[in-house]
């Protein structure tokens, strides 16, 4: 904030030793880190709105077609979905520990936690792959070849369209997160981070937690509709 900056400028003038990661257009490392954090959070806001469009469509059709939603949801395997939920939340935990290790300057611990997070992420994607494959085998992929036995085949197709859009987009985010984390892990391994500067770890952490949060909503919305059998 300006006052802080005024004070800061008075304190240091311009000359102080530059951290290797310090970019020239920032006055201080602090300013740089604050900018990065704010930027990341704003990016996450855009992500919320991005998924928001899908949630809107979901909500409308859930209100319109409760039976079809129940029918479609029952097609999904609650055990696989539940497993993935546990896996993803666990990966959030390991990610949090990864960030913590970076904060406290533990190089190997950071690397290990990040690797564990990536392993969990991979597990999630593998499970998701088998779920998709199952759908494919059954002909439940929306489109010209969609095929569904049931009273509300058309509306179930809408459900499954949304299912694939939402989980597909989520999986895409996981893959991007996986890529990011590979880089971060490598950087951590090289010892680039320190308690003074671990912004990239923190940023990927925020991103990963966000992906987790999306799933926290997707799981009940997609897998747990009307399991009590109200619409049977």
């Amino acid at each position: 904030m300006p006052d802080a900056l005024v004070a800061h400028a008075a304190d240091h003038g311009h000359a102080h030793a530059h951290h290797p990661a310090h970019q020239h257009h920032f006055e201080t490392m602090e300013q740089q880190a604050e900018a990065a954090t704010l930027g990341m959070w704003i990016f996450l806001v855009t992500e919320v709105m991005f998924f928001g469009g899908l949630f809107m469509a979901y909500m409308l059709y859930r209100v319109w077609y409760p039976e079809a939603w129940a029918e479609g949801s029952r097609e999904l395997d609650i055990r696989l979905g539940g497993l993935n939920t546990v896996v993803l939340i666990a990966s959030s935990l390991t990610m949090a520990f990864g960030v913590r290790s970076a904060q406290t300057g533990k190089r190997m611990a950071t690397v290990n936690w990040l690797l564990l997070t990536m392993a969990l992420g991979l597990t999630f994607l593998v499970v998701k792959f088998f779920e998709y494959k199952h759908k494919y085998d059954l002909g439940h992929i929306p489109g010209a070849n969609f095929h569904f036995e049931g009273a509300h085949a058309d509306q179930v197709q809408i459900f499954l369209s949304l299912y694939f859009c939402m989980t597909g987009l989520h999986a895409l985010h996981m893959i991007i997160g996986f890529g990011l984390m590979s880089v971060i892990t490598w950087m951590a391994w090289k010892g680039r981070f320190s308690p003074e500067w671990y912004t990239p770890v923190e940023m990927s952490g925020l991103y990963w937690h966000f992906v987790d949060i999306v799933w926290i909503f997707l799981f009940p919305l997609l897998y747990l509709v009307d399991r009590a059998g109200h619409y049977q």
Binding site: Y65, P66, E67, A151, H152, D154, Q155, H230, Y231
Partner: protein, 346 residues
């Protein structure tokens, strides 16, 4: 139509003056603000002109009372416009009770109209003067929009559901009918003419148009037999399906507890997607008739279901017979009327 440069559309329905009065009111308000601001801008720009670029303006920074004033006043003015507009809007969308019912489907790129008595026409619509008319319509493909400028009415035609417009024509003549929602190549060709006729001329047109084949209600009844609806919907309510007598316009409780008003859209849904809304107390037995009956057939069935709800349920196209029998019928342009032909719809 007017020669020279037309500046104002004809007022040919009871709604037109209501809309136009509102329009002129907004015009007056906005003209006031526009002239006020422009006049001030021009006046200041000239009065305080300084071509040296070296002077500075007066050290005025602002005034809170002024700010509040010019926030509140436009807001209040806007509220007045809003209230008036809403009143007119509900006038436009809420038809009166005894309307003449006409059905229509939009299809790329033509409008088909079907009168209750069975007359059909394409891109032409004959209506009597002074009688409220309600046009219920849908689309068979993409979005369209039925627009009659002289009546100031318009509504989108949306596949899968019904929209409607209503009007009471106040002036005989021929008026434009446009498709106002972009629908592809010949969107600008999806136009037609509304013929407003004296009641007796209209009567003559109805009988003389050369179109027979029974009213929509009759056609609906026939379809009701043909499609074997009667096997389940017995009038005494003992069939597998509910009795349809008196259903139209009533409120029905569905199996999941929601309630719906039985209107055109609901009956249409019942016929095409019967599983979507089950009447409480019945099994999901009713098959879909999707593909077995076209949009016009559905409309005829609706007319028939309406007729089961008592006499006022049926829309009567006939007008009072006090019309002078000798009046010359206004013939529809050749080709504008589709000859009734059971097999060729769609």
């Amino acid at each position: 139509m007017l020669s020279g440069i037309p500046l104002f559309p004809e007022q040919a329905s009871t709604l037109a003056p209501a809309v136009d009065n509102l329009y002129f009111f907004i015009l007056a308000v906005t003209a006031f603000f526009a002239l006020l601001v422009s006049a001030l801008v021009i006046y200041f720009a000239i009065k305080y002109r300084d071509d040296t670029g070296l002077k500075v303006g007066a050290p005025i920074t602002g005034s809170v009372p002024l700010e509040i004033g010019w926030s509140i006043i436009p807001f209040l003015v806007a509220i007045v416009i809003f209230v008036w507009s809403t009143v007119v809007f509900f006038q436009i969308i809420r038809p009166p009770d005894q309307t003449l019912e006409i059905y229509s489907t939009g299809k790329r790129w033509m409008w088909r109209f079907q009168h209750a008595d069975g007359q059909r026409e394409i891109n032409a619509l004959h209506v009597p003067l002074g009688r409220p008319v309600k046009v219920t319509f849908t689309s068979e493909d993409v979005l369209h929009d039925l627009y009659i400028p002289a009546f100031r009415v318009k509504a989108d035609a949306i596949p899968g559901r019904y929209s409607s417009i209503w009007f009471t024509a106040t002036k005989t003549g021929e008026y434009h009918l446009f498709c106002a929602e972009y629908c592809g190549t010949r969107h600008s060709g999806m136009i037609g003419t509304v013929y407003v006729m004296e009641p007796n001329d209209y009567q003559a047109w109805l009988t003389d148009g050369g179109i027979t084949g029974g009213s929509m209600q009759a056609r609906g009844e026939q379809l009701f037999q043909q499609l074997a609806c009667t096997t389940c919907h017995l009038t005494n309510g003992t069939g597998r399906g509910p009795s349809l007598s008196g259903v139209f316009g009533s409120t029905v409780t569905l199996s999941d507890g929601r309630t719906v008003t039985v209107d055109e859209s609901y009956v249409r849904e019942s016929i095409l997607t019967p599983q979507m809304k089950l009447v409480a107390g019945y099994q999901p037995l009713m098959p879909t008739f999707q593909g077995l009956v076209n949009e016009e057939g559905v409309m005829s069935l609706i007319e028939y279901v309406k007729s089961l709800s008592g006499s006022e349920g049926t829309a009567q196209a006939r007008v009072a017979p006090d019309a002078a029998p000798g009046a010359a019928p206004v013939a529809a342009p050749a080709g504008a009327i589709e000859q009734r032909n059971e097999g060729r719809t769609q």
